[in-house]
Subunit: 340 residues, 2 copies
DNA sequence: TTGTAAGCGTTATCAT
DNA sequence: ATGATAACGCTTACAA
């Protein structure tokens, strides 16, 4: 057990020492530290001076033990996501969360949730180590921490395929994004707009497909042919070839992500078609390679840092009992480059 | 103040409840939980059963308060780094740290250290909130947390320009990496090997330059011309043009990073030179664009995840009083693509 | 407005 | 090998 001598040596005075120096009781110091309103100004003053002089820093563990709050927030990232950390998606979300929380009184604890330690993670979360959690689920529909929301304030980043009842979610609006991407194609004169959709068992796959249809509908155009891919470059290549067979008059192509768009670009090149003059192509995600491929890809950029920020502020509100929107939708941004 | 009823409702039994159920004292339960050897097997057995049945999870705050250890580690990332989080460098290091720590008993707290909250960060670190810290300094020589090492176990990721005395550091070996990159050029027949160096006020700039010279020296070749760039694509473009003026016989080019290599590629194209036949080019960092540009770039890949891992294990060793190397150097990996 | 004092759930010292 | 019991540093009724 550490004795007071050590604390002193390490320069960490206790609240009691502050109290003594300020000539008040520990309770009063505590009140000042926590911004309690009912303290005489002079007392506040004297306590603050003592705090400064002593370099007092509240002991988090003691505070947490006494108040049953931890002032800590967990960020749970599925392992599959961490592995593909190259994916700027997560990096940016984490950045948004971290910077936002940095300006608050909460601390960020990172958890990598893998199959092997799922139980450990749950125990950690339920073991009173944090006041709340942010769970980021990738594009997949995985929401294995769904039920956590009943017990602990939780905000999810990204929606599962089917909305879960009481969950608080922050997500990007894929329907709107896709719709605006396709509207851009329409705006530049495309009339036969095909789609390479993503897997229909993933929310973004479904939603982006919906957006494509919606934009077409609103413009009074009949949808061009559609092929479903798996978000890989190869599937985009194959899909585009098929699309050209199905309808050689296609003059616009919406790919549900940039990987597939990149594959499609290759197929169009093979077919001797010029992008964007013969076929305009727009992708989705603004992947790292999108600006460097030939031609540079027009695409939708997702506001990942903003999403992290929003996740953080929403969770803090939830923890502190303020009302929160059960669903916050963020708008993607159209990035116009050479392909459309 | 939370009462016991709430704890029960939330399903978080205390050590005392476990003790009661197991028919032993709290002290014994504590011993079992902490793997203390001097407990009768039967007691261990009965305590463990009680723990299972009750779903007991130790309260971190209480444990920390009593033991004066937090089992938490801070990861301090400079804000400048966070901002350019697109940089997979940090993402990977964080991943390495997080996954490694996930298998330990330590928790990872992320701190974004900005100018504005430097004091706050220091207070946090010194306020007994963590048992140790990992400080990642980017390629810059910034080591503003240098002195922290005196007070708290700290491991630095990346070395400053001038080595700091007692610091524990994990870094990549830029001299070795550059040397091997250049050796690859020599191996494929290059004899007039020029360099586009990085800023000489940054450690990697200096070290990679050293590696270039070293490899040449060992092969008995005289160094080709050298121009110093600033790690940007534009500077690489300008530098390569200049290089070609200085010595038109150059047949190999070592660029201290991929950005500059990419610029150089453009200059060579302009000059009507073929890569790699006329001039072989090797870069450094294996940046995200390196595999997609034309021609795909041969480069050195830095082991960032491994670095994160190493940082974590080193810090844990340091905290637990085991001996640690003051300097761990990680080897970069040569990635051979079309440019050399 | 302020102080007193009872916890918060552990660990660790000291007997036994 | 085990059990009392005193910390650990703070919050928060409750009293004054």
């Amino acid at each position: 057990m550490a004795d007071k001598a050590e604390a002193v040596r390490r320069g960490i005075p206790t609240l009691e020492e502050v109290a003594t120096r300020a000539g008040v009781s520990r309770a009063t110091v505590s009140r000042v530290v926590n911004g309690h309103p009912t303290v005489r100004p002079e007392a506040v003053e004297s306590v603050n001076r003592a705090i400064d002089e002593l370099g007092y820093v509240p002991n988090r563990a003691a505070r947490s033990l006494a108040s049953n709050r931890t002032q800590a927030i967990a960020l749970v990232v599925p392992e599959t996501a961490a592995r593909i950390f190259a994916d700027p998606f997560f990096a940016s979300v984490v950045q948004g969360v971290a910077t936002t929380l940095n300006d608050s009184d909460y601390t960020l604890t990172m958890l990598i949730g893998s199959e092997s330690n799922a139980a450990k993670t749950r125990r950690y979360l339920l073991g009173g180590n944090v006041d709340g959690a942010i769970v980021i689920s990738h594009h997949t529909g995985d929401h294995s921490y769904k039920d956590l929301g009943q017990v602990l304030p939780v905000v999810f980043g990204g929606r599962p395929l089917v909305d879960s009842p009481g969950a608080v979610v922050v997500d990007v609006d894929n329907v709107d994004g896709a719709s605006r991407a396709v509207t851009h194609l329409i705006g530049r004169g495309c009339r036969h707009i095909a789609a390479i959709s993503g897997p229909q068992d993933m929310r973004p796959g479904v939603d982006r497909r919906l957006g494509w249809q919606e934009a077409l509908l609103m413009a009074g155009l009949t949808p061009g042919p559609e092929v479903v891919g798996d978000f890989s470059t190869e599937s985009g290549l194959a899909a585009a070839r098929r699309l050209l067979e199905l309808d050689p008059t296609v003059d616009g192509l919406f790919a549900a992500n940039d990987q597939m768009a990149m594959g499609a670009l290759q197929a169009l090149r093979e077919a001797g078609l010029h992008v964007p003059d013969d076929v305009a192509v727009v992708g989705y995600d603004d992947s790292f390679f999108s600006s460097t491929i030939e031609p540079p890809l027009t695409t939708m950029r997702q506001p990942m840092i903003a999403m992290g920020s929003e996740l953080a502020t929403t969770l803090v509100a939830l923890i502190e009992g303020r009302p929160v929107d059960p669903l916050t939708l963020l708008r993607a941004k159209l990035v116009v480059r050479a392909s459309a």
